[in-house]
Point group: C5
Chain length 354, copies 5
């Protein structure tokens, strides 16, 4: 099931801007905060529900990645905002799960919010979760609506020291996380590509009414993907890494790589949408064609037999004075006449290309 | 009921530009003018129908918010224009309820006009009212077509000193009012979102002809919302707060926040419009499908029984010389033959995938 | 009737650029030239068919408005061009009634050409006339394809000294005339708005085939209005009053006011076009729905009675050996069987949601 | 017949860029080269098939117009290229009749290629020919795919000294030729305008299936015109006469005039396309309406008479025991009952608004 | 068969950016590397599967073209990247066959990736292959997904010293290769043009249901071509040769020539798409028209004969008291009455323009 991420609850009506309200489904329980702090030599990880405890473990001269695995504790987010000196309006965006993706650079950090695709273990189901990043000089905060798996391989790489991640700064970590999120979009896109290819075969070979429903569902899925991908792509286009204080120019290539991927996804979405529209048209034409076929069949049969039935009806009348009734050859001649008439009519209609 | 806010009465034809004409429905009665004047320490409120009296209460070193709760007294508006030194062309815009939203900065004030969503207490009904703001250094004039509730919580907050409003200037008050207006748009958008979701279920499960009417009505509602939201969003895009003399840069965040909300509303409107278009298409296809089904049923029955009726008609003829009539097995053989023919035809048609 | 203002006659083929050809319907008779010359103190008006006479009455230190009330005398226009030092290519545009609206500033004057809505006295009928203006420092030339009324109130105001027009320069007069022309567009737009609202009611309540024709005619009317409004709006957008030598900055407000009106008209036209498109769609769906209803009725009746007719046909056959014919209860049993069969079939079809 | 000017023959595959290949239909015979050399005093004309001979007649201090009346002699074009110092890639464009219109300025000349409308004498038929111009300081080369008439009036004007052409430079001649080509576009546009107006009447009054074919043909014709006009208009937009070394600023007005004409043609094409689309829609609705009418007629007749036929069929049965058959008033009562039933049904259906 | 070049395998999920994965179909065997090294005097060619061996043959003061004829050996590509100092993210793009065309300039080389049309010898079949170029000062690397023929004529020209290629630098070679690739696009475009022209004839003369399938297939083919051409055209638009370190300005003309060709292809694709859309519409209208014809035929026949059958049914009833049955002229009069009725009805329907 897809989550409609546009429903902004009315909870916020009447409150001043900057009021902190979590707009997702209310949840119970604590938010787990995880700190991973690392440098080239080593990496340590701490988990707690107490932000102060986590904050005390932060080490200035290392990269510190603090992850919040849920958003429903608004006081916690507010506390984090105070510690990191984040404006209340941004905290509001972190908490508003219907907020559109955007990127903004501030004096002391870079703010990025977007949607992450959350897959169930079985891969059938998915939904889009609201994720926000705050990237400072030596730290990265990540706020997840739900604890998601896509970041796990990166956590592993940090802790085991695999790859270049440990030897680089927080911005590189941020780019890795973005890349992981974009890769998830490819996953769902590939699934839709396959489904559409399947649908195309179904449509050409043996379309049912349900085929149309499936086409419409795919279109909807694409629209949701597009809503989540387009604003990110736009944000990327406007964001100039070479003017940023938080991402060094050497990561330009990585940034462009993600940009390319987003463009490729956007183009693919557009192509798929066109394909689906064509498929609808084709189905309509097929329906019309079939209807034509049905009507031609009915018309041929009806226009042959209705007049014939009339003719035999004539000789079924009980008038006393109907001289033909007594003639010897009436019956076979009438039958021959009707046969000839039908054949003639049939040939005539076939000639008119029915 | 929605008000069509495009009908510009012909009253103005032949008048020179700047002629003051109220283009709404004529009304009786006085316009109540309310002044709220406040600073960090305290807040006072005065109501009167006499502008001069109100003007005498204005205190230069405090924030002064003067609200006009109707527009039909053109002389009063003209008087206000003279006191505040507002150009007649702007007064004309304040009075022309069909005027599109716009924002313009002048030497001595910022002018903003837009539509405010007016909900009835029951929430079923709504209409868009024309509202204009004139924001000066220490005052804010607001002109409402109708006395509306959305500003009440803000009035309360000023008078009770809740929140930051009392410690800030007139521009902040202006932003609070804008935010309240935009929040109203979310309300109606949420209602449409729910209605469309409902309609989608109705369409897939049990569509009636009225479903189409409902889709078209939702489309219309969306169009009206769009007409009111788009020009505001455009105005916001063009208005540069950092070049404004009346709104200080520190409110940039609040401004961007409202901008984000307007963009989110615009995108949501576009998505809903696409959804409604898809729903229309789906309904058309469903109709065609159903028609096909109906025609196939008719064709199967008719092409089986019309020829059979002809055959039995033959043996209902009264010819004298019809040898078959006397044969003993004619009747059962004919019945068998007809049965076999019908079954054969039925199987043939099913094979052609009907 | 609307005039198709795109037909450029072939008269001009083979002529060099700048050749003066009147492309409207040829007319007889003289062109009346009217001069109104005024300053703050007084205003005088002269009419003549002799341009030299008119020219001799022009007073350098007053505002001089010279109006030509027809275009078919190309020599007269050429003469005017020579006196005022207007390039032949511009004279060509003045004479080419199919020329699109445009605005251009030259060294010695501002040139403006657009279409003016000409209403008959009864208001039923209208057409668009080609009007051009040449605005100099102290004079305004106006060239009308046909003598029109919209300028009469302005003439009155000048001659009676009402309003501010007498105390201002030629540019203000020009703006007044433009404003009068744009006001005419509102007139026709309001008429279309009303007609479309009417059509909408007709469509929902009792649509006839003629309804579609009316929708298409409204669409056409809108297209013609759009063709005449859009290029003016575009011209206004490109024309920068603050760089103009002929219109002083103090009229900026008036200019923006006209711009706003043109934008409002454009947006309204777009909305109306969308509405009409929706109405067409709705009509199509209504037709399909109705067709479905018709076919269902036919199918129910036909699929019940065609088989029954076959059955009674069987017992109308004249075979000698049909034992049932002699049984006592055959007839009532058959009738009961047919009744039961029909009812069963009818229930079955209703269940399939017909 | 219209020529599809998009078919680029495969002849060029495998050749390096700049290879000179004539992509039109191969032709026999020589290319006639015509030189017109003139100044204010006199004008001379020479024709030859020998480029060297022509070249020897060129006079440096006069305007020299050299016209090639066919393109199939690639060696000749190459020779001209060498003499005039034209890059092979440009020669390739001159020879490639499917090349899109474009304008480019080089160090020593201005290059312009576009399509010229070629009309047969009878005016029924037309095709688009590839024409290229090379404009130098004192010369103009023109390369025509086919010898066309549109330039004849200009030749006449030069030779007879009519108009301003003799007193001006090669750029003015170039502008005259462009103007002549654009005037041809108006010709075909006017023809399409007339045909569409005719079609509109036909469509509203008495549409046949052929009407749709005609609409589609007009659409195609418009597309071809558009393909030829749009790139020229674009080229004009990008080409800045005030930065050109070959066209002096005093011709700005002429240039803008041609620009205006191209814009007018483009807008007219767009309007016509919309009109044709509307016409198609209207035809579809008309078809549906007619179908509805047909089906209603069938349904009314069939639902009245099919049940009646069944009823009379009942009393045509040959059962021995059918007491009604012997009753005296059976027959007239049955007839009355059937009459009443039919009338009732007919009224019922009319009430349901058929 | 066309290859869907959008399927990005899931192999890359979970890997960091820059991980080298070949996303095409896995293949066996070695990659043949071919070096052509040449200067004005001579040209040599070497083939090997060992990159080091090839690298040792590279001569600094000549042009060196190294071609890789497959991409599945990621280690080889990585090795090449190390030797040439190419960033891993670019190598990733070289290996990702679904990567969109793009052009990027780096410090030490120009990177270009696009799709090349691969035709089978028979010309029926084709697919798009991923090709990348790395252009340095004196070398050009080309990476082909599959060994393709389009480069063979260029190889020949280098080795035989035909044309200008040997006397120019690596950039000219690069331009030649691009030109060859773009020429291939013309090939497939020409094929589609022909097919569409064929389809148009088929559609107007004798459309079958398969015609629609063919139209849809052509549309798909066009979409694939467009996906491959558009990004190249975009890349060309953004790439400024005059700011490039690797392509000298003297090749500007060649570059513009390719640009023109790409624009021509794009425009032609758009026109073809519109044509195909028109064809679909036409087919729909044709279907509706035919349906109308069929229904009219059915309705005429049915509405004539169904009532007649009823009438003769009346006189087939076996009532004892039906006085008409005994009258002498009943039968011929009834026949006449029925004939007159049918003729009357038929005329009436013809008059209603059926």
């Amino acid at each position: 099931m897809k989550k409609n991420n546009h429903k902004r609850t009315t909870k916020k009506i009447g409150l001043p801007p900057g009021a902190l309200v979590y707009t997702g489904t209310p949840k119970e329980g604590d938010t787990e905060i995880t700190l991973i702090t690392y440098d080239q030599e080593s990496a340590d990880t701490f988990s707690s529900t107490d932000l102060k405890e986590i904050n005390s473990k932060v080490q200035e001269n290392r990269v510190n990645w603090i992850n919040f695995d849920s958003l429903h504790n608004t006081e916690l987010i507010e506390e984090a905002g105070k510690i990191m000196n984040i404006h209340n309006l941004l905290l509001e965006d972190i908490l508003d799960i219907s907020h559109q993706p955007k990127v903004e650079e501030y004096d002391n950090f870079l703010f990025f919010t977007l949607k992450m695709l959350e897959l169930t273990k079985e891969g059938h189901d998915h939904q889009y979760d609201h994720v926000s990043f705050v990237l400072g000089k030596n730290y990265l905060l990540s706020f997840q609506e739900r604890k998601g798996d896509p970041f796990d391989p990166i956590r592993d790489r940090i802790l085991t020291g695999k790859g270049k991640v440990r030897s680089r700064d927080a911005a590189y970590l941020f780019i890795l996380l973005l890349d992981a999120i974009v890769d998830q979009y490819f996953l769902i896109l590939e699934k839709i590509n396959n489904d559409v290819a399947q649908l195309e075969i179904e449509l050409f070979e043996n379309p049912a009414e349900s085929t149309v429903n499936k086409i419409i569902l795919q279109k909807k899925e694409l629209n949701i993907l597009r809503e989540n991908v387009y604003p990110v792509a736009e944000g990327f286009k406007l964001f100039r890494i070479d003017e940023s204080d938080f991402i060094s120019d050497e990561y330009m290539n990585y940034f462009n790589d993600i940009k390319d991927h987003l463009k490729q996804i956007s183009d693919n979405i557009n192509n798929l949408r066109e394909t689906l529209t064509s498929m609808m048209e084709f189905y309509m034409i097929r329906l019309s064609n079939q209807m034509n076929q049905v009507m031609k069949t009915l018309t041929i049969i009806a226009t042959i037999f209705i007049p014939l039935t009339f003719i035999v009806g004539i000789y079924g009348m009980n008038f006393k004075y109907m001289p033909e009734l007594g003639w010897k050859w009436s019956y076979p001649l009438l039958m021959l006449f009707m046969l000839a008439g039908s054949i003639g009519w049939y040939i005539y209609m076939r000639k008119r290309n029915w």
